[in-house]
């Protein structure tokens, strides 16, 4: 049967179990939207208010549903508005298929109205991209797009479809097999390397596990826990590795890196064996590379061969997905105990507790600190909500103080640090898990980057809990200006709108708290609300986030004040 390219796209999306699309229409994608009109009951479409929101919402959906996130945008400005979200997904290995409309094939290269070369623009920020100019390419290309987005290390794929290819008809036959001869599937963990890794771990006095996003992506939660427990190994997490192991687990040592814990940073440079699982030794994790864990033997498990030896040299590198590598490793690991090594973590945690944590959590003069909000929220939800944090001080405070009990319950923009991520990502997260409490924690600056998605929330009638931690500053930049630029506060203070009134304008109920004594009740009202709810919390203006490994310093130079 002959179908239009637009209809073939719908059929192909259904073949890939797509049930939700985030998008925004326009001229060059209208035939696709016209086809979508007939598929409304099978393919739900969420109309965002800016294409960046569509990409982040698709990211949130992908990360919590385990499916590939799908978004639509028109050519030119619609497509370029997706770019930030695509770059974000590339950095954080999130599987997306982004469909962009394009001018008619016969106009390509002529600077036609709303023609932007999206293949050129997105080549460095996609796992793969392709331009379709004929309807008979649609089914096979979409099949490939989904396969590539979700297989191996996940990532975003962009498919640009010229308008004629959306309108013209072709025979629809969905390919049963996808042939990409050059596609490199990650291998099985190499036996010999697994043995070498096991030997290092079994002989280690001070072994140290680092869990990255790869643990979450490959759902290696049990394997991580089993390995840690069997050999009695402390586990630290990267920013995106948080919630790979419950925070309450006795071997969970919390976050490491720039705003990680004192213990995890200092002891990185004392461990004798580091087992890095599904992480990529980002500079925010390693600090000054030349002084990073030089004493340690490094076992690096990663699905992406190009991550191995990219930043640090591994003594043993297992190029496989985290779950299969850990499964291979566990039977070869002997039971062990590392009591005195573990007590080192506790000793340093105690120092951090005295120097930082107590100060941040103890109420003073009825002002509110970010840490108090997150800590209270964590207690009240028993750490069982899905938390979506934006970018800045509030993000680091959330990472430090929320005690994640559920696996894969923390979404944030890690590699790219994209302000504006949280609100749209929370929409995707909530739509992936409608029964789960989804809480977005957002700075006053970040909120204004994608604030228009409040309208999307209202239109969809979904219940997202939004906490604005308002310090009236671009806080993280102010912190750097305070610490490293002689307190020269250059363009970081914000005259903000009345956020509660803004929310109200979007038909979302909200309230504002300014004093500590009102905080608890306000959080309770937020959590009790059946609908979306915005809580603006006026927090102390000039609190700095510690511990901190200053950029370019060694991890052991982590500062407590």
């Amino acid at each position: 049967m002959k179908l239009s390219g637009g209809r073939i796209l719908m059929e192909s999306l259904l073949e890939n179990q797509t049930d939700l699309i985030f998008g925004y229409p326009g001229g060059a994608i209208m035939p696709i939207y016209d086809a979508l009109y007939d598929y409304k009951d099978k393919l739900k479409h969420v109309l965002v208010r800016h294409e960046q929101g569509a990409a982040h919402a698709a990211e949130g959906y992908a990360r919590l549903s385990g499916k590939v996130g799908v978004c639509f945008a028109t050519s030119g400005p619609g497509a370029t508005n997706l770019v930030t979200g695509i770059a974000d997904a590339m950095m954080d290995s999130v599987p997306l298929v982004c469909i962009t409309g394009q001018v008619y094939a016969n106009l390509l290269g002529t600077d036609a109205f709303q023609e932007t070369d999206m293949i050129g623009v997105t080549t460095p920020i996609t796992k793969w991209n392709y331009q379709i100019t004929k309807p008979d390419e649609v089914a096979e290309t979409i099949a490939k797009a989904f396969y590539i987005a979700r297989t191996g290390r996940p990532g975003p794929v962009l498919i640009d479809i010229t308008k004629n290819a959306q309108i013209e008809k072709a025979d629809f036959k969905y390919p049963q097999k996808i042939s990409i001869p050059s596609f490199k599937l990650p291998g099985k963990p190499n036996d010999n390397l697994v043995k070498q890794a096991a030997k290092l771990i079994n002989n280690a006095q001070k072994p140290f596990l680092i869990a990255g996003h790869g643990v979450i992506i490959s759902k290696a939660f049990n394997q991580l826990k089993t390995l840690a427990q069997k050999a009695d190994i402390p586990v630290a997490s990267t920013l995106l590795g948080l919630s790979a192991i419950p925070s309450s687990h006795p071997l969970s040592m919390g976050i490491l890196g720039m705003h990680g814990k004192y213990s995890t940073n200092v002891l990185t440079n004392q461990a004798d064996v580091i087992i890095a699982v599904g992480m990529r030794f980002d500079d925010r994790v390693t600090g000054r590379l030349s002084e990073y864990a030089k004493q340690a033997k490094i076992i690096h498990i990663d699905i992406d061969a190009s991550e191995i030896n990219k930043n640090t040299i591994a003594n043993v590198a297992i190029n496989a997905d985290a779950k299969s590598a850990l499964e291979a490793l566990i039977p070869k690991i002997s039971k062990n105990e590392h009591t005195s090594w573990l007590s080192e973590f506790n000793r340093l945690d105690q120092i951090e507790f005295e120097k930082v944590t107590t100060k941040e959590l103890t109420p003073q003069n009825n002002k509110i600190k970010m840490a108090q909000v997150v800590n209270m929220l964590s207690d009240k939800t028993k750490g069982r909500a899905v938390v979506v944090a934006d970018v800045g001080q509030h993000q680091m405070v959330t990472a430090r103080y929320f005690k994640f009990q559920k696996n894969n319950s923390f979404l944030t923009s890690g590699g790219a640090g994209t302000m504006g991520y949280a609100l749209p990502a929370a929409i995707g997260a909530k739509m992936a898990q409608p029964q789960t409490e989804v809480i977005a924690i957002i700075g006053d600056g970040s909120f204004q980057m994608t604030i228009q998605e409040l309208a999307t929330i209202a239109q969809e009638g979904i219940a997202i809990k939004i906490i604005i931690l308002n310090n009236k500053f671009l806080g993280m930049v102010r912190q750097w200006q305070d610490l490293f630029f002689d307190k020269r506060y250059s363009f970081v203070d914000l005259k903000n709108p009345d956020f509660v009134a803004v929310a109200k304008g979007f038909y979302i109920y909200g309230e504002k708290v300014t004093s500590y004594s009102d905080l608890e009740k306000a959080i309770e009202r937020l959590l009790k609300a059946k609908k979306s709810y915005l809580l603006e919390v006026e927090v102390e203006k000039e609190t700095n986030v510690f511990p901190m490994v200053p950029a370019g310093a060694s991890v052991e130079e982590v500062r407590l004040e």
Binding site: I119, T123, I180, F183, D304, A305, S306, I308, N309, K310
Partner: protein
């Protein structure tokens, strides 16, 4: 150090763009580039020469392998390879050079590709140094020289 990167890929449009993009990101200059089709397999071979640290090139090679259309990447130092460039050298048909031409050509292993009453075009396959030597021997009669990028094969199997 000269490093030769050999990239095998699907024979599809846009692969060169993706490859070049990676070199751009790493700010590595491409000294020479040859692309050819492997007809029997519908694949392409890119032979790229860069002057860089082996360790950096090894990282780039792994990143090149992330390109979906790329099936494999090899890197070699010069001593592991037989490598050649091709050159065409156009000289004026001056009696002074015509007289010596036969002996130059046979000594420096070149040959005449074409001639008319004004010009002679000489072809030469060899290393860059071989070609430079031939060109300098033929100066000042050389009108124009064109060189190809490197083609290379490893001496041993991989």
């Amino acid at each position: 150090m000269n490093i030769t990167i050999t990239i095998y890929s699907e024979n599809k449009p846009g692969v060169l763009y993706r490859i070049a993009n990676l070199f751009l990101r790493r700010k590595v200059n491409i000294e020479s580039l040859t692309v050819s089709e492997i007809k029997s397999e519908d694949r392409s071979r890119f032979t790229i020469v860069v002057k860089e640290d082996l360790s950096l090139v090894a990282k780039i090679a792994k990143q090149l392998e992330r390109i979906i259309e790329v099936s494999s990447v090899e890197i070699h130092t010069d001593n592991e390879l037989i490598f050649k460039d091709a050159a065409l050298i156009k000289i004026s048909k001056n009696p002074k050079v015509v007289k010596k031409l036969d002996s130059i050509i046979s000594l420096l292993k070149a040959s005449i590709a074409y001639q008319n009453d004004k010009y002679i075009i000489i072809e030469k396959l060899g290393t860059e140094e071989d070609i430079d030597l031939l060109v300098s021997t033929l100066e000042p009669f050389v009108k124009e020289t064109v060189k190809s990028g490197r083609i290379a094969l490893p001496k041993n199997g991989q």
